[in-house]
Symmetry: C2
Subunit: 242 residues, 2 copies
DNA sequence: ATTTATTGTGTAATTTACACACATTATAAA
DNA sequence: TTTATAATGTGTGTAAATTACACAATAAAT
Protein backbone atom coordinates (compact mmCIF):
# COMPACT_ATOMS: atom_id res chain seq x y z
CA UNK A 1 0.00 0.00 0.00
CA UNK A 2 1.55 3.30 -1.03
CA UNK A 3 2.29 5.75 1.71
CA UNK A 4 0.38 9.00 1.38
CA UNK A 5 1.68 12.07 3.07
CA UNK A 6 -0.80 13.71 5.38
CA UNK A 7 -1.03 17.51 5.27
CA UNK A 8 0.81 19.31 8.04
CA UNK A 9 0.34 22.80 9.38
CA UNK A 10 3.59 24.12 7.97
CA UNK A 11 3.16 22.88 4.44
CA UNK A 12 -0.45 23.87 3.96
CA UNK A 13 -0.15 27.62 4.17
CA UNK A 14 -2.63 29.18 1.86
CA UNK A 15 -5.32 27.17 3.51
CA UNK A 16 -6.33 29.39 6.39
CA UNK A 17 -7.66 26.77 8.74
CA UNK A 18 -5.01 24.76 10.47
CA UNK A 19 -4.77 21.27 9.17
CA UNK A 20 -5.28 18.71 11.83
CA UNK A 21 -6.53 15.19 11.87
CA UNK A 22 -9.91 16.50 13.00
CA UNK A 23 -10.24 18.25 9.67
CA UNK A 24 -10.29 15.08 7.67
CA UNK A 25 -13.59 13.84 6.38
CA UNK A 26 -14.85 10.51 5.09
CA UNK A 27 -15.19 10.76 1.32
CA UNK A 28 -17.24 8.39 -0.76
CA UNK A 29 -18.24 7.87 -4.37
CA UNK A 30 -21.78 6.98 -5.39
CA UNK A 31 -22.38 5.66 -8.90
CA UNK A 32 -25.62 6.15 -10.74
CA UNK A 33 -25.37 3.31 -13.25
CA UNK A 34 -27.84 3.69 -16.08
CA UNK A 35 -28.87 0.92 -18.43
CA UNK A 36 -31.46 0.49 -21.16
CA UNK A 37 -33.59 -2.62 -21.52
CA UNK A 38 -37.06 -3.39 -22.88
CA UNK A 39 -37.31 0.21 -24.02
CA UNK A 40 -37.01 1.47 -20.47
CA UNK A 41 -34.29 3.47 -18.83
CA UNK A 42 -32.93 1.48 -15.91
CA UNK A 43 -30.71 2.20 -12.96
CA UNK A 44 -28.71 -0.34 -10.99
CA UNK A 45 -29.60 -0.26 -7.29
CA UNK A 46 -28.82 -2.32 -4.23
CA UNK A 47 -30.92 -2.90 -1.15
CA UNK A 48 -29.62 -1.00 1.82
CA UNK A 49 -28.78 -2.90 4.95
CA UNK A 50 -28.17 0.18 7.05
CA UNK A 51 -30.52 -0.07 10.00
CA UNK A 52 -32.18 3.27 9.45
CA UNK A 53 -32.88 2.51 5.78
CA UNK A 54 -33.30 -1.25 5.86
CA UNK A 55 -34.86 -2.61 2.68
CA UNK A 56 -34.74 0.68 0.83
CA UNK A 57 -32.89 1.11 -2.43
CA UNK A 58 -29.51 2.76 -2.53
CA UNK A 59 -26.88 3.66 -5.10
CA UNK A 60 -23.67 1.73 -5.47
CA UNK A 61 -21.03 3.46 -3.46
CA UNK A 62 -17.89 3.01 -1.44
CA UNK A 63 -15.37 5.06 0.45
CA UNK A 64 -12.48 6.62 -1.40
CA UNK A 65 -9.14 5.31 -0.25
CA UNK A 66 -6.45 7.81 0.68
CA UNK A 67 -4.09 6.53 -1.99
CA UNK A 68 -6.66 6.44 -4.75
CA UNK A 69 -7.69 9.06 -7.31
CA UNK A 70 -11.33 10.08 -7.21
CA UNK A 71 -11.99 8.84 -10.74
CA UNK A 72 -10.15 5.61 -10.00
CA UNK A 73 -12.41 5.00 -7.04
CA UNK A 74 -15.44 5.33 -9.28
CA UNK A 75 -13.99 2.90 -11.83
CA UNK A 76 -13.13 0.48 -9.06
CA UNK A 77 -16.71 0.46 -7.82
CA UNK A 78 -18.02 -0.06 -11.34
CA UNK A 79 -15.70 -2.99 -11.88
CA UNK A 80 -16.58 -4.52 -8.51
CA UNK A 81 -20.29 -4.25 -9.20
CA UNK A 82 -20.55 -4.96 -12.89
CA UNK A 83 -17.29 -6.62 -13.83
CA UNK A 84 -16.93 -4.16 -16.69
CA UNK A 85 -14.02 -1.96 -17.64
CA UNK A 86 -13.63 0.71 -20.30
CA UNK A 87 -17.10 2.05 -19.80
CA UNK A 88 -18.51 5.52 -19.76
CA UNK A 89 -18.08 7.40 -16.50
CA UNK A 90 -18.44 11.04 -15.66
CA UNK A 91 -18.49 13.07 -12.46
CA UNK A 92 -21.70 14.96 -11.84
CA UNK A 93 -21.87 16.65 -8.46
CA UNK A 94 -20.61 16.47 -4.90
CA UNK A 95 -23.04 16.26 -2.00
CA UNK A 96 -21.67 17.53 1.25
CA UNK A 97 -24.39 18.34 3.74
CA UNK A 98 -23.49 17.46 7.28
CA UNK A 99 -26.70 15.59 7.96
CA UNK A 100 -26.78 13.41 4.88
CA UNK A 101 -25.42 10.23 6.47
CA UNK A 102 -26.76 8.88 9.75
CA UNK A 103 -23.42 7.46 10.83
CA UNK A 104 -21.54 10.73 10.64
CA UNK A 105 -19.90 13.07 8.20
CA UNK A 106 -19.55 11.52 4.77
CA UNK A 107 -19.16 13.73 1.72
CA UNK A 108 -19.99 11.89 -1.48
CA UNK A 109 -19.11 12.51 -5.10
CA UNK A 110 -21.75 11.35 -7.56
CA UNK A 111 -20.68 9.74 -10.82
CA UNK A 112 -22.85 8.76 -13.74
CA UNK A 113 -22.16 5.64 -15.74
CA UNK A 114 -23.88 4.36 -18.86
CA UNK A 115 -23.81 0.63 -19.47
CA UNK A 116 -24.84 -1.59 -22.32
CA UNK A 117 -26.94 -4.09 -20.39
CA UNK A 118 -26.52 -6.73 -23.11
CA UNK A 119 -22.83 -6.99 -22.25
CA UNK A 120 -23.56 -7.31 -18.58
CA UNK A 121 -25.34 -10.05 -16.74
CA UNK A 122 -25.64 -9.67 -12.99
CA UNK A 123 -23.77 -12.19 -10.93
CA UNK A 124 -26.00 -14.69 -9.23
CA UNK A 125 -24.47 -13.89 -5.87
CA UNK A 126 -25.59 -10.30 -6.11
CA UNK A 127 -29.24 -11.00 -5.57
CA UNK A 128 -29.58 -7.74 -3.75
CA UNK A 129 -28.74 -5.93 -6.97
CA UNK A 130 -31.54 -4.88 -9.25
CA UNK A 131 -32.01 -2.98 -12.48
CA UNK A 132 -34.76 -0.62 -11.45
CA UNK A 133 -37.03 1.41 -13.66
CA UNK A 134 -35.59 4.93 -13.69
CA UNK A 135 -39.04 6.48 -13.76
CA UNK A 136 -40.58 4.66 -10.84
CA UNK A 137 -38.21 4.79 -7.93
CA UNK A 138 -39.40 5.40 -4.44
CA UNK A 139 -38.02 4.96 -0.96
CA UNK A 140 -34.35 5.48 -1.54
CA UNK A 141 -31.93 5.39 1.36
CA UNK A 142 -29.88 8.35 2.58
CA UNK A 143 -30.20 11.34 0.23
CA UNK A 144 -29.87 9.01 -2.73
CA UNK A 145 -33.17 10.14 -4.21
CA UNK A 146 -31.75 13.66 -4.43
CA UNK A 147 -28.52 12.37 -5.94
CA UNK A 148 -30.39 10.21 -8.43
CA UNK A 149 -32.70 13.04 -9.51
CA UNK A 150 -29.70 15.27 -10.02
CA UNK A 151 -28.00 12.65 -12.17
CA UNK A 152 -31.14 11.94 -14.16
CA UNK A 153 -31.50 15.62 -15.03
CA UNK A 154 -27.82 15.73 -15.87
CA UNK A 155 -28.30 12.79 -18.24
CA UNK A 156 -31.30 14.37 -19.95
CA UNK A 157 -29.33 17.51 -20.61
CA UNK A 158 -26.12 15.75 -21.54
CA UNK A 159 -27.55 13.41 -24.19
CA UNK A 160 -28.82 16.44 -26.06
CA UNK A 161 -25.37 17.96 -26.19
CA UNK A 162 -23.09 14.94 -26.59
CA UNK A 163 -23.37 11.45 -28.04
CA UNK A 164 -23.47 9.57 -24.74
CA UNK A 165 -26.57 7.58 -25.47
CA UNK A 166 -24.73 5.09 -27.64
CA UNK A 167 -23.05 3.72 -24.55
CA UNK A 168 -26.43 2.35 -23.52
CA UNK A 169 -27.06 0.53 -26.80
CA UNK A 170 -25.54 -2.60 -28.34
CA UNK A 171 -22.88 -1.95 -30.96
CA UNK A 172 -25.37 -2.47 -33.73
CA UNK A 173 -28.77 -0.89 -33.36
CA UNK A 174 -31.73 0.19 -35.41
CA UNK A 175 -32.89 3.76 -35.64
CA UNK A 176 -36.03 2.73 -33.81
CA UNK A 177 -33.95 1.52 -30.88
CA UNK A 178 -32.04 4.78 -30.87
CA UNK A 179 -35.25 6.75 -30.86
CA UNK A 180 -36.74 4.57 -28.12
CA UNK A 181 -33.68 5.33 -26.05
CA UNK A 182 -34.02 9.07 -26.46
CA UNK A 183 -37.73 8.92 -25.78
CA UNK A 184 -37.09 6.94 -22.62
CA UNK A 185 -34.42 9.33 -21.37
CA UNK A 186 -36.25 12.52 -22.26
CA UNK A 187 -39.59 11.03 -21.30
CA UNK A 188 -41.36 12.40 -24.34
CA UNK A 189 -42.48 11.29 -27.76
CA UNK A 190 -40.39 12.40 -30.73
CA UNK A 191 -41.33 12.60 -34.37
CA UNK A 192 -39.84 9.60 -36.12
CA UNK A 193 -39.11 11.34 -39.41
CA UNK A 194 -37.47 14.40 -37.93
CA UNK A 195 -35.46 12.28 -35.51
CA UNK A 196 -34.15 10.24 -38.41
CA UNK A 197 -33.35 13.32 -40.44
CA UNK A 198 -31.46 14.91 -37.58
CA UNK A 199 -29.25 11.94 -36.86
CA UNK A 200 -28.40 11.28 -40.48
CA UNK A 201 -27.52 14.93 -40.93
CA UNK A 202 -24.92 14.55 -38.18
CA UNK A 203 -23.23 11.92 -40.32
CA UNK A 204 -21.96 9.80 -37.44
CA UNK A 205 -24.10 6.72 -38.10
CA UNK A 206 -22.64 3.98 -40.27
CA UNK A 207 -24.83 1.45 -42.07
CA UNK A 208 -23.40 -1.97 -41.21
CA UNK A 209 -25.32 -3.63 -44.05
CA UNK A 210 -27.46 -5.82 -41.83
CA UNK A 211 -31.13 -5.85 -40.94
CA UNK A 212 -33.00 -6.39 -37.72
CA UNK A 213 -33.93 -10.00 -36.96
CA UNK A 214 -37.10 -11.52 -35.56
CA UNK A 215 -39.41 -8.58 -35.90
CA UNK A 216 -42.98 -9.19 -37.10
CA UNK A 217 -42.79 -6.45 -39.72
CA UNK A 218 -40.38 -4.87 -42.12
CA UNK A 219 -36.96 -4.99 -40.47
CA UNK A 220 -34.94 -1.83 -40.07
CA UNK A 221 -31.32 -1.41 -41.04
CA UNK A 222 -28.68 -1.72 -38.35
CA UNK A 223 -26.18 1.04 -37.70
CA UNK A 224 -23.17 1.60 -35.55
CA UNK A 225 -21.88 4.87 -34.17
CA UNK A 226 -18.59 6.12 -35.56
CA UNK A 227 -16.80 7.73 -32.62
CA UNK A 228 -13.72 8.57 -34.67
CA UNK A 229 -15.77 10.52 -37.16
CA UNK A 230 -17.33 12.39 -34.26
CA UNK A 231 -13.97 13.23 -32.73
CA UNK A 232 -12.62 14.50 -36.03
CA UNK A 233 -15.54 16.71 -36.88
CA UNK A 234 -15.78 18.43 -33.53
CA UNK A 235 -19.16 19.39 -34.79
CA UNK A 236 -21.55 20.71 -32.24
CA UNK A 237 -23.94 18.00 -31.17
CA UNK A 238 -27.30 19.43 -32.03
CA UNK A 239 -30.28 19.44 -29.75
CA UNK A 240 -32.84 16.69 -30.19
CA UNK A 241 -36.23 18.39 -30.29
CA UNK A 242 -36.78 20.75 -27.41
CA UNK B 1 -18.40 23.52 18.37
CA UNK B 2 -21.00 20.93 17.48
CA UNK B 3 -20.03 17.33 17.94
CA UNK B 4 -20.03 15.33 14.72
CA UNK B 5 -20.30 11.59 14.85
CA UNK B 6 -17.54 9.79 13.07
CA UNK B 7 -18.52 6.81 10.90
CA UNK B 8 -18.00 3.43 12.51
CA UNK B 9 -17.65 0.04 10.93
CA UNK B 10 -20.98 -1.23 12.17
CA UNK B 11 -23.10 1.67 11.04
CA UNK B 12 -21.61 2.11 7.59
CA UNK B 13 -22.65 -1.15 5.99
CA UNK B 14 -23.39 -0.59 2.37
CA UNK B 15 -19.99 0.95 1.99
CA UNK B 16 -17.80 -2.02 1.25
CA UNK B 17 -14.53 -0.71 2.53
CA UNK B 18 -14.21 -0.70 6.27
CA UNK B 19 -14.40 2.76 7.70
CA UNK B 20 -11.37 3.67 9.67
CA UNK B 21 -9.63 6.85 10.55
CA UNK B 22 -7.13 6.16 7.77
CA UNK B 23 -9.94 6.47 5.26
CA UNK B 24 -10.59 10.12 6.01
CA UNK B 25 -9.26 12.68 3.60
CA UNK B 26 -8.59 16.39 3.82
CA UNK B 27 -11.33 18.21 1.93
CA UNK B 28 -11.04 21.77 0.73
CA UNK B 29 -13.06 24.30 -1.21
CA UNK B 30 -11.51 26.53 -3.87
CA UNK B 31 -13.48 29.55 -5.06
CA UNK B 32 -13.11 31.00 -8.52
CA UNK B 33 -14.42 34.50 -7.90
CA UNK B 34 -15.23 36.32 -11.10
CA UNK B 35 -15.67 40.07 -11.42
CA UNK B 36 -16.13 42.52 -14.27
CA UNK B 37 -14.33 45.84 -14.45
CA UNK B 38 -13.14 48.14 -17.21
CA UNK B 39 -14.80 45.84 -19.71
CA UNK B 40 -12.60 42.95 -18.68
CA UNK B 41 -13.48 39.72 -16.98
CA UNK B 42 -11.52 39.47 -13.76
CA UNK B 43 -10.76 36.77 -11.25
CA UNK B 44 -9.74 37.27 -7.64
CA UNK B 45 -6.43 35.59 -6.84
CA UNK B 46 -3.98 35.49 -3.96
CA UNK B 47 -0.24 35.02 -4.02
CA UNK B 48 0.74 31.59 -2.82
CA UNK B 49 3.16 31.31 0.06
CA UNK B 50 3.58 27.57 -0.21
CA UNK B 51 7.28 26.96 -0.68
CA UNK B 52 6.92 24.96 -3.87
CA UNK B 53 4.74 27.63 -5.49
CA UNK B 54 6.05 30.79 -3.87
CA UNK B 55 4.94 33.94 -5.64
CA UNK B 56 2.55 32.16 -7.96
CA UNK B 57 -1.15 32.93 -8.09
CA UNK B 58 -3.66 30.69 -6.40
CA UNK B 59 -7.39 30.50 -5.92
CA UNK B 60 -9.05 31.39 -2.66
CA UNK B 61 -9.54 28.22 -0.72
CA UNK B 62 -9.73 26.69 2.69
CA UNK B 63 -10.33 23.36 4.34
CA UNK B 64 -13.86 22.23 4.99
CA UNK B 65 -14.59 21.78 8.67
CA UNK B 66 -16.16 18.53 9.80
CA UNK B 67 -19.22 20.29 11.16
CA UNK B 68 -19.80 22.48 8.15
CA UNK B 69 -21.84 21.92 4.99
CA UNK B 70 -19.89 22.03 1.75
CA UNK B 71 -21.85 25.00 0.44
CA UNK B 72 -21.49 26.77 3.78
CA UNK B 73 -17.74 26.40 3.58
CA UNK B 74 -17.75 28.11 0.21
CA UNK B 75 -19.91 30.96 1.51
CA UNK B 76 -17.64 31.30 4.53
CA UNK B 77 -14.59 31.68 2.32
CA UNK B 78 -16.36 34.26 0.16
CA UNK B 79 -17.35 36.25 3.19
CA UNK B 80 -13.87 36.07 4.68
CA UNK B 81 -12.27 37.24 1.45
CA UNK B 82 -14.76 39.75 0.12
CA UNK B 83 -16.94 40.66 3.06
CA UNK B 84 -20.01 40.00 0.94
CA UNK B 85 -23.05 37.88 1.64
CA UNK B 86 -25.99 36.90 -0.54
CA UNK B 87 -23.94 36.52 -3.65
CA UNK B 88 -24.01 34.07 -6.48
CA UNK B 89 -22.29 30.78 -5.80
CA UNK B 90 -22.41 27.48 -7.58
CA UNK B 91 -20.50 24.23 -7.35
CA UNK B 92 -18.63 23.26 -10.51
CA UNK B 93 -16.44 20.22 -10.12
CA UNK B 94 -14.42 18.20 -7.64
CA UNK B 95 -10.73 17.58 -8.18
CA UNK B 96 -9.41 14.51 -6.47
CA UNK B 97 -6.15 13.35 -7.94
CA UNK B 98 -3.74 12.01 -5.36
CA UNK B 99 -0.82 14.07 -6.60
CA UNK B 100 -2.51 17.43 -6.79
CA UNK B 101 -1.24 18.83 -3.49
CA UNK B 102 2.43 18.65 -2.54
CA UNK B 103 1.66 18.35 1.17
CA UNK B 104 -0.48 15.22 0.85
CA UNK B 105 -3.93 14.11 -0.07
CA UNK B 106 -6.33 17.02 -0.39
CA UNK B 107 -9.49 16.68 -2.45
CA UNK B 108 -10.93 20.04 -3.42
CA UNK B 109 -14.37 21.13 -4.54
CA UNK B 110 -14.37 24.05 -6.96
CA UNK B 111 -17.04 26.71 -6.64
CA UNK B 112 -17.74 29.62 -8.98
CA UNK B 113 -18.84 32.95 -7.65
CA UNK B 114 -19.87 36.05 -9.58
CA UNK B 115 -19.38 39.38 -7.86
CA UNK B 116 -20.37 42.91 -8.69
CA UNK B 117 -17.01 44.59 -8.20
CA UNK B 118 -18.62 47.98 -7.65
CA UNK B 119 -20.07 46.73 -4.37
CA UNK B 120 -16.77 45.36 -3.27
CA UNK B 121 -13.57 47.20 -2.44
CA UNK B 122 -10.66 45.05 -1.36
CA UNK B 123 -9.46 45.56 2.18
CA UNK B 124 -6.19 47.39 2.41
CA UNK B 125 -4.73 44.63 4.52
CA UNK B 126 -5.19 42.12 1.74
CA UNK B 127 -2.42 43.42 -0.45
CA UNK B 128 -1.71 39.90 -1.59
CA UNK B 129 -5.17 39.80 -3.18
CA UNK B 130 -5.53 40.90 -6.75
CA UNK B 131 -8.24 41.12 -9.38
CA UNK B 132 -6.46 39.45 -12.26
CA UNK B 133 -7.37 39.55 -15.91
CA UNK B 134 -9.18 36.30 -16.63
CA UNK B 135 -7.61 36.04 -20.06
CA UNK B 136 -3.99 36.48 -19.10
CA UNK B 137 -3.20 34.23 -16.20
CA UNK B 138 -0.01 32.28 -15.99
CA UNK B 139 1.96 30.52 -13.33
CA UNK B 140 -0.79 29.33 -11.05
CA UNK B 141 0.01 27.25 -8.01
CA UNK B 142 -1.05 23.62 -7.48
CA UNK B 143 -3.46 22.48 -10.21
CA UNK B 144 -5.26 25.79 -9.97
CA UNK B 145 -4.76 26.53 -13.65
CA UNK B 146 -6.72 23.39 -14.45
CA UNK B 147 -9.42 24.30 -11.95
CA UNK B 148 -9.65 27.84 -13.28
CA UNK B 149 -9.85 26.72 -16.90
CA UNK B 150 -12.60 24.33 -15.99
CA UNK B 151 -14.54 27.08 -14.22
CA UNK B 152 -14.03 29.55 -17.04
CA UNK B 153 -15.45 27.09 -19.56
CA UNK B 154 -18.28 26.38 -17.17
CA UNK B 155 -19.03 30.11 -16.99
CA UNK B 156 -18.97 30.53 -20.76
CA UNK B 157 -21.48 27.75 -21.15
CA UNK B 158 -23.61 28.74 -18.20
CA UNK B 159 -24.17 32.39 -19.17
CA UNK B 160 -25.63 31.20 -22.44
CA UNK B 161 -28.18 29.05 -20.69
CA UNK B 162 -29.01 31.07 -17.59
CA UNK B 163 -29.04 34.71 -16.56
CA UNK B 164 -25.97 34.61 -14.35
CA UNK B 165 -24.18 37.51 -15.95
CA UNK B 166 -26.29 40.09 -14.18
CA UNK B 167 -24.53 39.20 -10.94
CA UNK B 168 -21.39 40.77 -12.38
CA UNK B 169 -23.07 44.06 -13.28
CA UNK B 170 -24.34 46.95 -11.16
CA UNK B 171 -28.09 46.97 -10.55
CA UNK B 172 -28.60 49.50 -13.29
CA UNK B 173 -26.71 48.99 -16.51
CA UNK B 174 -26.83 49.98 -20.15
CA UNK B 175 -27.23 47.49 -22.95
CA UNK B 176 -23.71 48.32 -24.07
CA UNK B 177 -22.38 47.27 -20.65
CA UNK B 178 -24.36 44.04 -20.87
CA UNK B 179 -22.95 43.34 -24.30
CA UNK B 180 -19.42 44.18 -23.19
CA UNK B 181 -19.84 41.66 -20.41
CA UNK B 182 -20.93 38.89 -22.76
CA UNK B 183 -18.18 39.73 -25.20
CA UNK B 184 -15.63 39.58 -22.41
CA UNK B 185 -16.87 36.25 -21.11
CA UNK B 186 -17.31 34.59 -24.49
CA UNK B 187 -14.21 36.29 -25.84
CA UNK B 188 -15.83 37.20 -29.15
CA UNK B 189 -17.50 40.15 -30.80
CA UNK B 190 -21.27 40.10 -31.01
CA UNK B 191 -23.55 42.00 -33.34
CA UNK B 192 -24.99 44.90 -31.38
CA UNK B 193 -28.36 44.90 -33.08
CA UNK B 194 -29.00 41.18 -32.79
CA UNK B 195 -27.81 41.16 -29.20
CA UNK B 196 -30.26 43.92 -28.37
CA UNK B 197 -33.09 42.17 -30.17
CA UNK B 198 -32.44 38.92 -28.39
CA UNK B 199 -32.43 40.37 -24.91
CA UNK B 200 -35.53 42.47 -25.41
CA UNK B 201 -37.34 39.45 -26.81
CA UNK B 202 -36.69 37.67 -23.52
CA UNK B 203 -38.63 40.42 -21.80
CA UNK B 204 -36.66 40.35 -18.56
CA UNK B 205 -35.09 43.80 -18.85
CA UNK B 206 -36.90 46.70 -17.22
CA UNK B 207 -36.32 50.30 -18.32
CA UNK B 208 -35.62 52.25 -15.13
CA UNK B 209 -36.23 55.58 -16.88
CA UNK B 210 -32.71 56.90 -16.47
CA UNK B 211 -29.85 57.52 -18.87
CA UNK B 212 -26.16 56.87 -18.68
CA UNK B 213 -24.09 59.73 -17.23
CA UNK B 214 -20.74 61.17 -18.30
CA UNK B 215 -20.43 59.58 -21.70
CA UNK B 216 -19.07 61.65 -24.60
CA UNK B 217 -21.90 60.67 -26.89
CA UNK B 218 -25.58 59.91 -26.89
CA UNK B 219 -26.28 58.22 -23.53
CA UNK B 220 -27.98 54.86 -23.46
CA UNK B 221 -30.96 53.96 -21.33
CA UNK B 222 -30.39 52.13 -18.09
CA UNK B 223 -32.08 48.82 -17.34
CA UNK B 224 -32.36 46.43 -14.48
CA UNK B 225 -32.91 42.71 -14.61
CA UNK B 226 -36.24 41.46 -13.35
CA UNK B 227 -35.51 38.16 -11.61
CA UNK B 228 -39.13 37.64 -10.57
CA UNK B 229 -40.30 37.87 -14.15
CA UNK B 230 -37.65 35.34 -15.08
CA UNK B 231 -38.73 32.92 -12.37
CA UNK B 232 -42.37 33.17 -13.37
CA UNK B 233 -41.85 32.61 -17.06
CA UNK B 234 -39.58 29.61 -16.73
CA UNK B 235 -38.78 30.41 -20.32
CA UNK B 236 -35.74 28.76 -21.73
CA UNK B 237 -32.82 31.12 -21.71
CA UNK B 238 -31.84 31.32 -25.33
CA UNK B 239 -28.34 31.01 -26.64
CA UNK B 240 -26.45 34.19 -27.32
CA UNK B 241 -24.89 33.80 -30.75
CA UNK B 242 -22.99 30.59 -31.14
C1' DA C 1 -53.23 -12.23 -52.63
C1' DT C 2 -54.43 -9.27 -48.83
C1' DT C 3 -53.88 -7.22 -44.50
C1' DT C 4 -50.93 -5.20 -41.06
C1' DA C 5 -47.24 -2.84 -38.97
C1' DT C 6 -43.29 -0.48 -39.51
C1' DT C 7 -39.47 1.37 -42.29
C1' DG C 8 -37.74 4.71 -45.50
C1' DT C 9 -38.15 9.27 -48.05
C1' DG C 10 -39.85 13.76 -49.08
C1' DT C 11 -42.02 18.51 -48.95
C1' DA C 12 -44.13 22.71 -47.38
C1' DA C 13 -44.90 26.03 -43.51
C1' DT C 14 -43.03 28.14 -39.63
C1' DT C 15 -39.71 29.86 -36.72
C1' DT C 16 -35.23 31.32 -35.55
C1' DA C 17 -30.62 33.00 -36.59
C1' DC C 18 -27.72 36.08 -39.14
C1' DA C 19 -26.03 40.03 -41.94
C1' DC C 20 -26.59 44.51 -42.77
C1' DA C 21 -28.69 49.88 -43.30
C1' DC C 22 -30.29 53.99 -41.64
C1' DA C 23 -32.33 57.44 -38.71
C1' DT C 24 -31.78 59.57 -33.86
C1' DT C 25 -29.53 61.97 -30.11
C1' DA C 26 -26.25 63.63 -27.22
C1' DT C 27 -21.39 65.80 -26.89
C1' DA C 28 -17.59 68.41 -28.70
C1' DA C 29 -15.37 71.24 -31.88
C1' DA C 30 -15.42 74.83 -35.45
C1' DT D 1 -25.03 78.32 -34.36
C1' DT D 2 -23.48 74.98 -37.19
C1' DT D 3 -21.14 70.80 -38.09
C1' DA D 4 -18.65 66.63 -37.05
C1' DT D 5 -18.48 62.63 -34.24
C1' DA D 6 -19.76 58.61 -31.91
C1' DA D 7 -22.63 56.38 -30.00
C1' DT D 8 -27.87 54.62 -29.40
C1' DG D 9 -32.27 52.96 -31.18
C1' DT D 10 -35.07 50.57 -34.87
C1' DG D 11 -35.70 48.23 -38.56
C1' DT D 12 -35.61 44.65 -43.01
C1' DG D 13 -34.31 40.81 -45.99
C1' DT D 14 -31.99 36.28 -46.48
C1' DA D 15 -30.39 31.93 -44.97
C1' DA D 16 -30.80 28.11 -41.94
C1' DA D 17 -33.01 25.20 -38.72
C1' DT D 18 -37.19 23.38 -36.73
C1' DT D 19 -41.67 21.53 -37.07
C1' DA D 20 -45.76 19.32 -38.99
C1' DC D 21 -47.40 16.22 -41.92
C1' DA D 22 -48.07 12.56 -46.34
C1' DC D 23 -47.12 8.65 -48.84
C1' DA D 24 -44.63 4.82 -50.92
C1' DA D 25 -41.84 0.43 -49.83
C1' DT D 26 -41.08 -3.93 -47.48
C1' DA D 27 -41.36 -7.94 -44.71
C1' DA D 28 -44.47 -11.02 -41.86
C1' DA D 29 -48.89 -12.99 -40.85
C1' DT D 30 -53.27 -14.40 -42.45
Amino acid sequence: MPQIKQPSIKTLKGLQTEVQSINRIALSVDCVIFGFDENKLKVLLIRSDVKKFIGMWSLLGDLVKPEEDLDSAAYRILKQRTGLKDIFLEQVHTFGETGRHPAGRVVTVAYCSLINIQNHRLRILDNELHWHDANSICDMAFDHQVIFNSCYKWLQKRVQEHPLGFNLLPNKFSLRELQNLYEAILNKKLDRRNFRKKFFAMDFLVDVGEDEQNVPHRPGKLYKFNFEKYEKKKKKWPGIDF
